[in-house]
């Protein structure tokens, strides 16, 4: 039974940068296809903000103004924020919770996949769906809502909302590491509908009850909403830098929570 031979050792294989880039690209491509072909994700995350926008922005409040901006433009900013948040919380949070809870993440982690590729792909894809939602809202607003935005303004709005999705991806990661595969979608719904409301994404913040107005600054979508509203010309409270700092802060806190969940997972997974 004695083994005469020693442990085979070998130089660590290194991947070229090109190969690593290919992995990231494929990971993102298939993550996108996976979600696109999942109607419960692609239809609901895109249709909800678009439906609300058509109803409240194009049909019911036609020609009305809000804070000096036509409602059709105002609501691109707020439903855009709402859409970005939904795409990221569901795409990242519910997606991760399911893949983690049902063993798929483990299969990926057992492969030589660079772990960051998995998370980068989810972030990129949530941002891509965010961009799609914002582009649809903008197109509808331009064509049917009489919205006029300069090219620079349009690009800035898209950029702001897509970048802001990063914070919700981080929040999604925290949820994904603590929620179970079946409870995650419910948790995301319970979280994102109330905080959208309290952040002034449904009804402008200054029309909300006082206590909700004071709650707003403690919620991430409030800050992204303010940034987006600022871009379309609504006078907002606080500085853009302050809002970005708040979003970055929420992202960091979420990543910290996700890290705790990751470590908890590491110690627990038993079989």
């Amino acid at each position: 039974m004695s083994a005469a031979s020693g442990v085979l050792s070998q130089p660590v294989l290194e991947r070229s940068i090109g190969h690593t880039a290919t992995i990231y690209a494929k990971e993102a491509k298939y993550e996108f296809l996976k979600l696109l072909r999942l109607p419960i994700y692609s239809l609901s995350t895109i249709l909800f903000p678009v439906m609300f926008y058509v109803l409240f922005g194009l049909l019911l409040n036609r020609g009305h103004e809000q804070n000096g901006v036509i409602v059709a433009a105002y609501l691109i900013a707020t439903y855009g924020t709402f859409g970005v948040m939904g795409a990221s919380l569901f795409g990242f949070g519910a997606g991760l919770a399911g893949e983690r809870g049902l063993g798929w993440l483990q299969v990926k982690r057992a492969s030589p996949m660079p772990p960051s590729a998995y998370f980068a792909a989810k972030t990129i894809v949530c941002m891509a769906f965010s961009a799609i939602i914002v582009l649809i809202l903008l197109t509808l607003g331009f064509v049917f809502g009489g919205v006029h935005l300069a090219l620079a303004q349009t690009l800035k709005l898209i950029g702001t909302l897509v970048l802001g999705a990063g914070t919700f991806c981080a929040m999604g990661m925290a949820i994904g590491y603590f929620a179970g595969p079946t409870s995650a979608p419910a948790i995301v719904n319970l979280l994102y509908l109330p905080i959208s409301f309290a952040s002034g994404l449904w009804i402008p913040s200054d029309m909300l009850p006082h206590f909700l107005q004071r709650l707003g600054p403690f919620l991430p979508p409030y800050h992204l909403g303010q940034l987006a509203l600022g871009v379309v010309g609504v006078p907002t409270t606080g500085s853009a830098l302050g809002h970005w700092q708040a979003l970055a802060g929420f992202a960091l806190i979420s990543l910290g929570i996700a890290r705790i969940g990751f470590q908890r997972d590491e110690g627990k997974s038993f079989g």
Partner: protein, 324 residues
């Protein structure tokens, strides 16, 4: 039960001469209060098929997880190709098939394989992987539309697509029907014939018997036996004597060398390592002894004996139930 005895006999015995490609050295792993592995030492040599055999919760999957870097050991050293498997770069020469409850269902078979192939420096061509796993005809199907056996074959394809030298298969045929299991066994044998090293966990005894060069029996976090399937069988109650006897069970139990006596249909089954001595004594005590049959204990019997805390009980009604 053990349909593959012939195959076992035909298989040439392999010597463990290759270099060690994966190793657990004095490894312990706790999950909170649960001690999943206790001071386990296991070497896997290049080119061999090692089967880790044990009941559910014995620590088989934990051992695989440690070797895949999915968890860290509380004590001891885990080494795969000379490195710590927790570093993804040290997994470039390994492939794994794990138990998974749900795989993304909206991706097509070839898309799953394409993605996993991209992780490896020199993967097999896509067509070859699909062919090897028997997926060519269903390459364009979405994972969610596949049957149970086809799903397992996709997971198998993900394990081999990178052309790894060492392949971990964690309960690869669990839940498969007989035919699907045979197909997967064939695929595993093909890997071995190409010089790959395979570590497979199973609680199907005939699977270990049919595939493995070496069986490692693990129970309650400890290795309780290891050797070739033949050695494992001979290590325990090597033979069983079936006979019809009018002797009271207590009398049969008192014969030296008798390990266990069970009632079965109209006769009794005696487990022993010294069937000749026991038979001589039986003839002396019972002149009307009839229906004698001496059979080798299968791996299943050996396994049960090994995992029952090494305490062979005499005429224990519980062990009787387990056997049936």
């Amino acid at each position: 039960m053990i349909a593959s005895m012939e195959e076992v006999l035909q298989r040439p015995e392999k010597r463990r001469t290759g270099p060690i490609v994966a190793q657990l050295k004095g490894v312990s792993k706790n999950y909170g209060e649960v001690r999943a592995l206790r001071d386990v030492t296991l070497d896997v040599h290049a080119g061999e098929v090692v089967s880790v055999l044990g009941p559910n919760g014995a620590g088989k999957t934990t051992a695989v997880k440690l070797l895949l870097g999915l968890a860290g050991a509380n004590a001891g050293v885990v080494n795969v190709f000379g490195g710590d498997p927790r570093n993804p770069k040290n997994r470039l020469r390994t492939g794994a098939m794990l138990q998974v409850a749900r795989v993304p269902e909206t991706l097509r078979v070839k898309e799953h394989v394409d993605l996993f192939s991209s992780y490896y420096p020199k993967p097999l061509p896509l067509v070859e992987t699909l062919e090897a796993a028997g997926l060519t005809e269903i390459a364009n199907r979405k994972f969610g539309d596949l049957s149970g056996g086809q799903k397992q074959r996709v997971l198998f394809a993900l394990a081999i697509c990178g052309d790894p030298d060492l392949i971990f298969l964690d309960e690869p045929t669990v839940g498969l029907d007989v035919e699907a299991r045979r197909v997967l066994w064939e695929e595993i044998r093909k890997l071995v014939s190409r010089g790959k090293t395979v570590l497979l966990t199973t609680h199907y005894l005939q699977e270990a018997d049919a595939l493995a060069d070496r069986v490692v029996v693990i129970n309650k976090g400890e290795i309780i036996a290891q050797g070739t399937p033949a050695e494992i069988k001979s290590r325990t109650a090597g033979k069983q004597i079936r006979c019809v006897s009018s002797l009271p069970v207590a009398s049969v139990c008192s014969i030296p060398g008798v390990l266990e006596v069970r009632a079965e249909r109209d006769g009794i089954v005696i487990s022993t390592t010294v069937p000749d001595d026991v038979l001589r004594e039986l003839f002396l005590r019972d002149s009307r002894l009839a229906g004698i049959e001496v059979i080798s204990a299968g791996l299943e019997e050996a396994f049960l004996a090994l995992t029952q805390d090494n305490s062979l009980t005499q005429n224990d009604p519980k062990s009787n139930e387990v056997m049936q």
